[in-house]
C-alpha cells in the first residue's frame, strides 16, 4: 500500500475517542474482546466494528484461541504518526531557529548604529 493510504487509515483509526481508549488499554497489555468492551456502553457489534477499524489500520493484531479472540498492540504502525509529527516539528524548529537568528542580526545592527 502507498504510504499516504497507510497514513489515512492510521489517522482515521485514531480519530475516534472509543478507539483511542482501546489503544490506551491495549498499551497496558493484551485483552479479550469482552474485556475491551466492558468500559463502554455500546452494543457488541458496534464495538467489534471499532476493533475491526483498528485491526485494518494494523495498530492492533488479534489472535483467536478456541472461542476467545485476544487483541494486542502492534507498535510498528505508530511510527507512521510519529514520523509525520517529527517531520512537521523539524520544519517548524528550523523556521524558529532562522527567525531567532534574524532577530539577533537586527539587534546587532541596531547596537552597531
Amino acid at each position: 500500500m502507498v504510504q499516504s493510504a497507510v497514513a489515512d487509515e492510521v489517522f482515521y483509526a485514531l480519530s475516534n475517542a472509543t478507539r483511542r481508549k482501546v489503544l490506551e488499554q491495549l498499551s497496558v497489555g493484551p485483552a479479550t474482546v469482552s474485556e475491551l468492551a466492558a468500559p463502554f456502553d455500546m452494543k457488541l457489534p458496534s464495538f467489534v466494528q471499532h476493533l475491526s477499524v483498528l485491526e485494518r489500520s494494523r495498530l492492533v493484531k488479534s489472535k483467536k484461541r478456541g472461542r476467545v479472540r485476544t487483541y494486542v498492540i502492534a507498535p510498528e504502525r505508530f511510527k507512521v504518526v510519529e514520523d509525520w509529527l517529527t517531520a512537521r516539528r523539524a520544519l517548524w524548529e528550523a523556521r524558529l531557529n532562522q527567525f531567532d537568528q534574524y532577530v539577533k542580526q537586527l539587534k546587532e545592527k541596531e547596537s552597531a548604529s
Binding site: P45, Q49, S52, E55
Partner: protein, 162 residues
C-alpha cells in the same frame, strides 16, 4: 449470465419499494456519499457522520453513524459487485481490497437491485445473514427497523432530487 442466487426467507431480510423517480437518480442516491448521508440513518435516531465509497468491486464502503451526540460507530465493508443502475452488492465480511476481515459479531452481505418500471424504479434491498441466530439478533437490536426507516427516507430523498 444470471448472477441471482436464491434468497432464504429464514435467513434473509428483504424490503421492496417502488420509487417514482428515474433509476439514474436512485443509483446516485445510493452511491454518492453526499446523498447517502441524507437517508442512511433514521433522522429521529441520529446521523451519518462520515461516508466513503469507492464504487467498484473491491472498493471501500465505509459509513460512520452516531446516535444523537453520542459516540460514533463505524461500518466498514467492501463492494463485491457493481452494475450501474442495476445491482450493487457489498459485504461487511471483507475489508476493502477483498482483504479478509475479522468479525465476531453479525456480518451481512447487502444486495441492492433496481429495475426501471415505467418512469419509476423498483428498488429491492436484501441483507443476507449467516444463520437464523444472526437474523434474530438484527431484528431485536433495532437494525431491521432502522433499515426500514432508512429505505423510506431514501424514497423521500430520491423523490426530492427530481
Amino acid at each position: 449470465m444470471s448472477t441471482q442466487f436464491a434468497i432464504n426467507p429464514k435467513l434473509d431480510f428483504a424490503i421492496e419499494r417502488f420509487i417514482d423517480a428515474p433509476t439514474r437518480l436512485v443509483w446516485e442516491a445510493l452511491t454518492k456519499p453526499e446523498h447517502l448521508k441524507e437517508w442512511y440513518m433514521p433522522r429521529a435516531w441520529g446521523r451519518v457522520v462520515r461516508a466513503e465509497m469507492d464504487v467498484r468491486p473491491g472498493g471501500i464502503f465505509s459509513v460512520d453513524i452516531a446516535v444523537g451526540n453520542g459516540p460514533e460507530f463505524p461500518n466498514v465493508g467492501c463492494f463485491l459487485e457493481v452494475i450501474p443502475m442495476e445491482r450493487l452488492v457489498w459485504t461487511s465480511m471483507l475489508f476493502p481490497g477483498y482483504r479478509p476481515a475479522v468479525f465476531d459479531d453479525i456480518p451481512i452481505t447487502a444486495i441492492v437491485t433496481m429495475e426501471r418500471v415505467g418512469t419509476g424504479t423498483r428498488y429491492v434491498f436484501t441483507a443476507l445473514h449467516r444463520d437464523e441466530a444472526d437474523f434474530e439478533k438484527n431484528k431485536e437490536s433495532g437494525w431491521q427497523e432502522g433499515t426500514e426507516i432508512a429505505v423510506d427516507q431514501l424514497v423521500e430523498h430520491v423523490t426530492s432530487m427530481k
